[in-house]
């Protein structure tokens, strides 16, 4: 399966298994989603459970909060992550706080899925990587799979999680990676990073779509890189990162979100706090730039390239 099919399979499993699960969003029903992620689900599970909504992102997330509070397990789709900012108010003001404000009496077991990231020559506001906003807002989990197997297992965990989860889907690899994915249900736990590849010279950390391109770049390097796929940034698997950096003493972090306050900054801070004296070189980050995400003809200049990744590797290895 590819990532799209894996997510579809996760939704299908959960819709079948749990009557409380409801999928809602723009074009998710009859049309099966603009990326076909929800293809066929309405036919199979009915229009009460796979629901085409009005074009209203705040309304979709707001309604999902209420559905979740009153016993349902909504999985909302925001068609592109650039449209997450109207509902951000609902997420920040309510979803993230209801457990606390009600002292545990009311909770929001809700998932908001949204395709994110560049590299597909899409329109403006269709390419952003806003994961840091959600991580910084507190009270929400933030999950970003990089491959089909994880996409399915993480989404099932997210749907079963008792708290709000932002599930960011890497559009660039929606169909670019295929691997064996069981038709049956399984979970991949939230908050556990994956060591994609063991290595001894340096640690390279990435997540989402950039993982594939980071791995590709590293194939051209002679160093033995330990590659870590974070899979979730909230909660963050600090332990796996620190253990690896303690072993290698060197680290490069790659993400496509802008540099300032990008998630790499948080990882570097944790490395400083926990294993600064194990470092042989300053940690490097390869990120998008602090500019609006460029249009198609310029996006390659923005996204972390093979050249920039290898340069950072050389720099930490010197």
């Amino acid at each position: 399966m590819n990532v799209v099919e894996a997510i579809n399979s996760a939704l299908d499993n959960e819709l079948k298994k749990d009557k409380r699960v409801i999928v809602l969003g723009e074009d998710v029903g009859v049309n099966g989603g603009v990326f076909r992620v929800t293809d066929g689900l309405q036919k199979k599970h009915g229009s009460d459970r796979v629901v085409d909504t009005p074009l209203a992102e705040l309304g979709i997330v707001g309604a999902s909060i209420g559905l979740a509070v009153n016993g349902m397990r909504p999985v909302a789709e925001i068609q592109f992550s650039g449209f997450m900012y109207a509902p951000f108010d609902q997420l920040f003001t309510h979803a993230a706080r209801i457990r606390g404000r009600s002292r545990g009496r009311f909770t929001v077991p809700m998932v908001v899925r949204t395709p994110y990231g560049g590299g597909i020559r899409a329109l403006e506001l269709h390419c952003e990587s806003g994961e840091s906003f959600f991580a910084h807002a507190t009270g929400m989990k933030v999950v970003i799979p990089s491959r089909p197997y994880d996409a399915k297992g993480l989404l099932i965990s997210a749907i079963r999680d008792p708290d709000p989860v932002i599930f960011m889907e890497p559009m660039r690899v929606y169909r670019a990676i295929k691997e064996e994915v069981p038709e049956t249900e399984y979970t991949v736990p939230l908050g556990k990073a994956n060591i994609e590849h063991e290595g001894s010279d340096l640690t390279v950390i990435s997540y989402g779509a950039m993982l594939k391109y980071t791995k590709q770049a590293l194939e051209k390097s002679d160093y033995s890189a330990e590659i870590i796929d974070l899979r979730t940034i909230v909660p963050l698997d600090t332990e796996t990162i620190i253990n690896s950096v303690k072993k290698t003493g060197r680290c490069v972090i790659v993400h496509e979100a802008p540099k300032t306050c990008g998630f790499a900054a948080e990882i570097i801070a944790r490395i400083n706090e926990k294993c600064f004296f194990n470092l042989e070189a300053p940690v490097e980050r390869v990120t998008g730039f602090d500019v609006a995400f460029p249009l198609a003809k310029s996006e390659n200049h923005y996204l972390p390239s093979e050249k920039r990744i290898l340069k950072a590797v050389d720099k930490v290895m010197k």
Binding site: T53, L58, G62, D89, S102, G139, P235, E239
Partner: protein
């Protein structure tokens, strides 16, 4: 070529009891003497509480407090028409509704003194935490109503907001969803004429707020919000319709806040004395008293007793509140997620 009228709408206004306490018998809802007395006792209780909380803020015994004087009929009339299991989505001005819905007054004081534990709903009630962000409670009330419908439960969700809470996109998206999915939701707009200092004419160029319902294909009605019987009747009908699967209603409860916006506000800066006096004549508590007196439901002895009982109740709750210990430092970490993350555990250690 054709040019014709494709839709015609009318907006109803409901008043059962006029300013002198005289009721229109044809419109009077079915309420027993006992029920009317219960409503009255609640009105006195919440007014006593409001005065007390205000003075406690002035004495520094609680923090910022949002008064609701003048809006008692609007809040008691509405909660009285609904069941414990119905879902209430209040805003900051709905302390009266909370008290009517059996939320302990000591906990309300606890909340307004800056202790979040005061917001926890009593177990048997669905009293949602009040919303501080204006209008933000409207969309999720719709979601909650939608869940009741999907689960085939007979509960309704009711959500309060002010006239200011009708200007944001939240209002549009919420009412639109409510119409499209035909959910059992009651939108109660307490139009108290001002959003802090900004008058209703600056929120909307519509003649009424009620008419906005019609654009979303849901029912809308304007009621005299200082007439407890009118509010009760409108909400009861809306709830009956919602339970029968007939969808949502927007109720515009026309009222006036006889107090400042909050304990940090001075309404004299934007409202005239003359205007205030006019509305004082429509005081919802006085109005109900006039009705009860004329209908032999209230005499001086009963009135004094009710006032005395209310005062005792409030004082007792104040004492309970004042004996509540401050939350311990760990408290702020406990409810971010069901299970504390490793990172939060570490941060928690920093204050040990």
């Amino acid at each position: 070529m054709v040019k014709k009228v494709v839709e015609n709408f009318k907006v109803e206004y409901l008043q059962v009891m006029d300013e002198n306490g005289k009721v229109d018998k044809k419109l009077m809802p079915n309420l027993s003497a006992k029920q009317i007395k219960e409503m009255y006792e609640l009105m006195i209780l919440i007014r006593t509480f409001d005065d007390k909380a205000f003075s406690m803020q002035r004495q520094g015994r609680i923090g910022t407090y949002i008064c609701y004087k003048g809006q008692e009929a609007s809040q008691i009339g509405s909660t009285y028409a609904l069941n414990d299991k119905d879902w209430m989505f209040p805003m900051y001005r709905n302390t009266a509704a909370y008290i009517a819905r059996k939320h302990p007054m000591s906990m309300i004081l606890q909340y307004w003194s800056g202790d979040e534990r005061g917001l926890k709903s009593p177990d048997k009630l669905n009293n949602f935490p009040l919303s501080i962000g204006v209008g933000t409670q409207e969309p999720y009330a719709v979601g909650c109503a939608w869940a009741s419908k999907l689960k085939k439960e007979k509960n309704v969700s009711f959500v309060y907001f002010g006239d200011g809470g009708t200007s944001k996109g939240d209002f549009h998206e919420a009412l639109n969803f409510a119409g499209v999915f035909k959910v059992p939701c009651i939108f109660i707009c307490e139009n108290n004429q001002y959003a802090i200092s900004v008058p209703i004419k600056r929120q909307t160029n519509s003649e009424t707020i009620a008419q906005k319902a019609l654009a979303y294909g849901i029912a809308g009605i304007q009621v005299d919000g200082n007439d407890i019987f009118a509010v009760y009747k409108a909400v009861k009908e809306a709830a009956d319709n919602a339970r029968k699967g007939k969808g949502a209603t927007l109720i515009e409860s026309v009222t006036y806040r006889l107090c400042d916006h909050s304990t940090s506000d001075d309404a004299k800066r934007y409202r005239s004395d003359k205007e205030l006096k006019q509305w004082q004549k429509k005081d919802p508590v006085d109005r109900l008293e006039k009705y009860m007196k004329a209908n032999k439901l209230l005499n001086d002895k009963y009135k004094d007793e009710v006032a005395k009982k209310a005062k005792e109740k409030v004082e007792k709750e104040v004492r309970i509140f004042e004996n509540i210990k401050d939350p311990d430092p760990d408290d702020i970490f406990k409810f971010t997620f069901e299970e504390m993350t490793d990172e939060l555990k570490e941060q928690n250690e920093e204050i040990k």
